[in-house]
Structure formats: C-alpha cells, structure tokens
C-alpha cells in the first residue's frame, strides 16, 4: 500500500534530491604517533598521583618517581652498566648459539625429508619442557659459570628457531625452485640463491620471538650463580622486597626488549625491502 510508505522519505527522494551521505568512515588504520605517548604519560601521571594521595602503598605499587629514583641510582653508581653488560653478553652468546644450532637443524629438516621425519616429533617432545625445570641438570652438565647461562638461553632459543626455519623453508615458493632446476642450477646454488633468501622473512619473524624468549630466559639463566646481570638484579630486588628497585630492573628489561625490537625492525626493513 502506498500510504504505508514513509511520507517524508518519498517526498525528499522524489522532489529535492539529496546529497549522497558519506558512509565509508572508520575501519581503517590511521597513524596516531602521539597517542601511545600520551596514553603512557596519562597512565604514569595517574599512577604517581595515586601514590602521592596515599591510595596505593609505596610497597605494593612504588610510584614512578621512586622507580625513576632507583633507576638514576643504578646509573650513577654504575651498577646499571655492569648488570646490563653481563646480561647482554649472555643474551648475545646464548642467542647466537641457539640460533645457529636451530637454523642448522631447521634447514636440515626443511630440506631433507628424513631429517624432518626424525626431527618433528623430537622438537614437539622437547620444545615444551620448561628450561627452568632443567636448571639443576644444566648446573651438573655445564657448571654454574657462563656456559650454563648460555645453555639456558640457547636451549630456549633453539627450538623456536628450528620451527621457524623449517616452516620458513616450506613457505619458499616451489615455482622458483622449479624455475631454477629448469635452468640447470646446481643444488647448492638453489639453496643459496633461492631457499635461503626465500626463507629469510620467516626466519626473521622467528628472530623476533626468540629475542623475546632470550630476554625472558636471561632472568632464569641468572638464577644460577650470577653476580651481575639484569636478571640477577631483578631476582635480588624481589628477594629483598625492594619493589621500587625491582620495577626499575623490570623497566630496564622492557626497554631492552624495545631496543632489540627496533633493531630487528630496521633489519627487516633493510633485508626485506623487496616485499
């Protein structure tokens, strides 16, 4: 029935004509470079305010000023650098060892089906073992010096690297390998010129994960007889119930994570500019 229609809609549509209403807004990603900083600033201000007003006990939630003070203390007495140096050394060596081993095994598993058949169940079996549970064994195997710390980080990094590497090799487009074969490229050239660069995006994505794992595990690694190190520092602050120092150490760890993430982003931008 015509009179059941909305009379205004009918009249405007037929007589006036109307501008097309824009309805394509939202659902897009825009860059808001200051939003994150502002959110941080507000959060920190609220936190500080709550402490100042006595809403949060300084023991339970030390105010940012106390954390900052502890951090400044670490910088001025030189302990920050000492701890950072010790941890960075361990992270670097442990990560490099784990990554080298993981990539070697990952490549073998990506390329040789026998290695894959043997490797996949082994990786599945060993990957989920919490490395912290193995610390007493690591002490017996590697002692309490640096080797056991390298081993803790290295083992933690090894398995995700294996998985990232062989999955990355699976992602290398088969048509490129076929192409290379059709031009008679030898096996080694195919590996070097196609498989390796083709797997690089996946391997670099793995680096992002393993770098975070290395940071997490440095705390576990430094449970074993470490005099210096950010992990040892955080553990000690926790044991001593010095919560402001504890948070200062945690802050250093997350800044370290941020720094490593930035370096990796740069590396990706450099190496993967072809994407």
């Amino acid at each position: 029935m015509p009179d059941s229609l909305n009379p205004t809609a009918v009249s405007t549509a037929s007589s006036l004509g109307q501008p097309v209403r824009f309805r394509g807004g939202g659902f897009t990603v825009k860059r808001h470079p200051w939003a994150a900083l502002a959110a941080f600033a507000v959060l920190i201000a609220l936190w500080e305010g709550a402490s100042r007003l006595g809403l949060a006990s300084p023991l339970f939630l030390p105010p940012p000023s106390a954390v900052g003070h502890a951090l400044v203390g670490m910088v001025t007495d030189g302990s920050l650098w000492l701890n950072l140096k010790a941890s960075l050394g361990r992270i670097a060596v442990g990560w490099v060892l784990g990554t080298a081993g993981g990539m070697l095994v990952g490549f073998a598993m990506g390329i040789f089906s026998t290695a894959r058949a043997v490797g996949v169940p082994l990786v599945s079996a060993f990957f989920p073992i919490p490395k912290i549970a193995l610390l007493p064994l690591f002490i017996l195997w590697f002692g309490i010096g640096e080797p056991s710390k390298f081993a803790t980080i290295g083992f933690g990094v090894f398995f995700p690297t294996v998985i990232a590497t062989y999955s990355a090799i699976d992602q290398v487009p088969r048509n490129l390998i076929r192409m290379a074969q059709s031009f008679g490229l030898p096996w080694r050239s195919i590996l070097r010129s196609i498989v390796l660069p083709g797997a690089l995006p996946g391997i670099l994505a793995g680096f992002r994960i393993t770098a975070s794992i290395a940071l997490i595990l440095v705390v576990a690694a430094e449970m074993i007889g470490a005099e210096y190190g950010i992990g040892a520092f955080v553990l000690m602050a926790g044991n001593l119930m010095q919560t402001d120092t504890l948070l200062a150490g945690v802050l250093v760890l997350s800044l370290l994570g941020l720094a490593i993430g930035t370096v990796l982003s740069q590396l990706e931008r450099r190496l993967l500019n072809w994407r």
């Binding site: 610390l135 002692g143 309490i144 007889g225 553990l235 001593l240 119930m241």
Partner: protein, 341 residues
C-alpha cells in the same frame, strides 16, 4: 533426623571438652570462634604452630586458625603484608627486614633458633675441597659457597661465621643459586667448595659420599633463625586476637620444648613427655617420615623469648651489606609487649 542427633551429640562432646579444660561452658558455646590465618612453611621449625592447631590450643582461646602453607621463606612476610595471612612464622631474611622497615611486619615472638648441639643447618665441604684442606668452618674463608639468594638466612650464617673468625663476607665467594636443589646440584658437580644445608639434606649428602660435614651452625654461631610476626596494624587494631594467638602458641612451644629439647645430665637429648604424639603431629603436617623429622628438630625457647641481640646484629649486618635501609632502627622491627620479654 540423623543430622540433628549428630549435632546434638557433637554439642555435648564440645561442652564436655570445654568443661574438662576448665573453660566456662557458656563462653565456648555462645561465641563463634574468631577466625585467623597463619602463614607457615611445611618444615619442622613450624612444629609449635602445627601442635597448637592439632591439639586445639587455638580453639581453646576461641580462635579458628587456618594454616596457609608457603614454599619459601620470602613469601610468608609478603602474605602478612598483603593481608592474606594475619600471622607468619619463618626464617628471617633481609627481605623481611625491608618489609619491617616499611612498617609492614613486626616480630612478636621467637620461633626456632640455631642452638649448640641441635642439628639444624650444617657446613658441608666437597670431598675435593676437604682434601685440599677445608676441614673446619673457619677454613671457609676464601672459598666458594653456594647460597640460595642474596639476603637469605644462608647469607647471614656466612656473615656470622665471618664475624666470629675475623673475616668478612667479602672474603668468600657467595654463589646464589635460588634454591636448595640447585645448591645440591652445584655441590655435587664440584662447582662450589661448600654449602650450608638443612640437616636432612646434609645427612643425605654425607651418606651418599658427596661431601664431608664440617660442623653445625648451632654449635658454631647460635642465632635466632625464625620468628612469629604480624602486621603492626593487627597489633594495634586487634590486640586481643594477637594476645590469644600468642598464648596458644606459647602453650604449644612449651610442650614442644619439653618433648624435644630436653637434655640429660651428660648433655644428650632425651625424649620428653608426649614425644611420639607430637612427632606424629609434625610428621603429618610436614608429610615427612617421623624418623626424618626427629633427626632435625630445632631448638625453641619455651617462653618464646627472642635473641634480641642477634636480631639487632642481623639488622646491622644487612645494613652493612647495603641490603636494608640504613635508617632502620633495629629495635623497631620487634614488639615483644605481648610475648612478655
């Protein structure tokens, strides 16, 4: 029906028990029990608490005390600070004094202590270190010693030893390994020269031939290992509760002391009254075999008296190590007004 009868019988039984204990029946029946929680570790050093609970001394005081089990000494004062437990009993660490310096906990009575001829913690040398001349605790100067963490009781025991023999903790290399299993692993692997270990672990290591015992900490440097503590706020706002708790605790403490800490004229330990019953209670609570428990029962003061001088020494030691705020007055970490000392 059955339920009603059962309840009636239960009431009669309770009344009978109350009468027998000399408490006015009306008091026991009229008031519901006041609830309180205490944080403990499942170790025989918490024995008096287990005894007070099992033998109903808390109930007699009108308290319904719940035991909260923790796995490390660091956690107990934190639980008291956060209000998850009203009381705590454990070993005293630098972390404890840091909480005390922030006004979160205060010592109200003694727990166990290292006392001569009571086997609680031992100095152990690896066979290699022993053969190389590490024969007595005094020889530990200059050696590598595994500890759990910086600020732990092990750290302090080394400090005490150093004080006694005229060196400092700087003269030894302390290797923090977080927990006793890792210390044992490092010891067995020859990564350190020595450890200080609890009695059961020590005896096992010696029995396994993994090392030699150099002596007991109690013989070398007696000290106040543990304490009963609460939050200053509880002390202020719920003083009657604290009084009742301490009364029950002291009853159990005296009973524990009589059963386990008595000596004959020759200085040998003798079994006191109720030995087997109390041992059974502790074995139950710690889930250990009675003979293992019996081998490592620590000394407690029957009146819960604290070694005040040692507490002061502890605070000063941690302050000199830079682990506790220098502004903390050692006397302020304890409030012994209720324990009566």
């Amino acid at each position: 029906m059955t339920l009603a009868r059962l309840t009636r019988r239960a009431v009669i039984a309770t009344a009978g028990a109350a009468f027998a204990a000399g408490i006015p029946m009306s008091a026991a029946l009229a008031q519901p029990l006041e609830k309180a929680t205490v944080g403990v570790l499942a170790l025989s050093s918490s024995g008096p608490i287990f005894i007070a609970k099992a033998k109903g001394y808390f109930e007699k005081e009108g308290l319904d005390v719940e035991l909260k089990m923790f796995t490390s000494a660091q956690q107990v004062p934190v639980a008291v600070t956060s209000g998850d437990a009203d009381f705590g009993v454990t070993g005293l660490t630098a972390g404890f004094y840091n909480l005390a310096s922030k006004g979160a906990v205060t010592i109200i009575a003694a727990q166990s202590r290292d006392e001569p001829s009571f086997p609680l913690s031992a100095y152990l040398a690896t066979n290699a270190a022993f053969d190389a001349g590490l024969k007595t605790p005094a020889d530990l100067k200059g050696k590598r010693i595994a500890i759990t963490t910086v600020g732990s009781t092990f750290h302090y025991m080394i400090g005490l030893l150093a004080q006694k023999h005229g060196f400092t903790v700087k003269d030894v290399t302390m290797v923090p390994l977080q927990d006793v299993p890792k210390m044992v692993a490092a010891f067995k692997g020859g990564q350190v020269d020595a450890i200080i270990a609890p009695s059961t672990v020590s005896r096992q290591l010696v029995a396994d031939g993994a090392g030699k015992m150099l002596g007991w900490v109690g013989d070398e440097t007696p000290w106040q290992l543990g304490a009963l503590f609460t939050a200053p706020k509880t002390m202020k706002d719920r003083r009657p509760l604290v009084e009742k708790f301490v009364r029950a605790y002291k009853t159990a403490l005296a009973e524990y002391h009589a059963a386990f800490n008595g000596k004959d004229a020759a200085g040998n330990l003798v079994k006191g009254p109720g030995y087997d019953e109390l041992l059974g209670i502790i074995a139950d609570a710690t889930k250990q075999k009675p003979d293992i428990v019996a081998a490592g029962l620590p000394y407690v003061d029957p009146q819960a008296r604290l070694l005040v001088d040692d507490i002061v020494n502890q605070v000063k030691f941690w302050q000199s190590e830079g682990q506790v705020d220098k502004a903390l007055d050692p006397k302020s970490v304890m409030d012994l007004s209720i324990a009566g000392q």
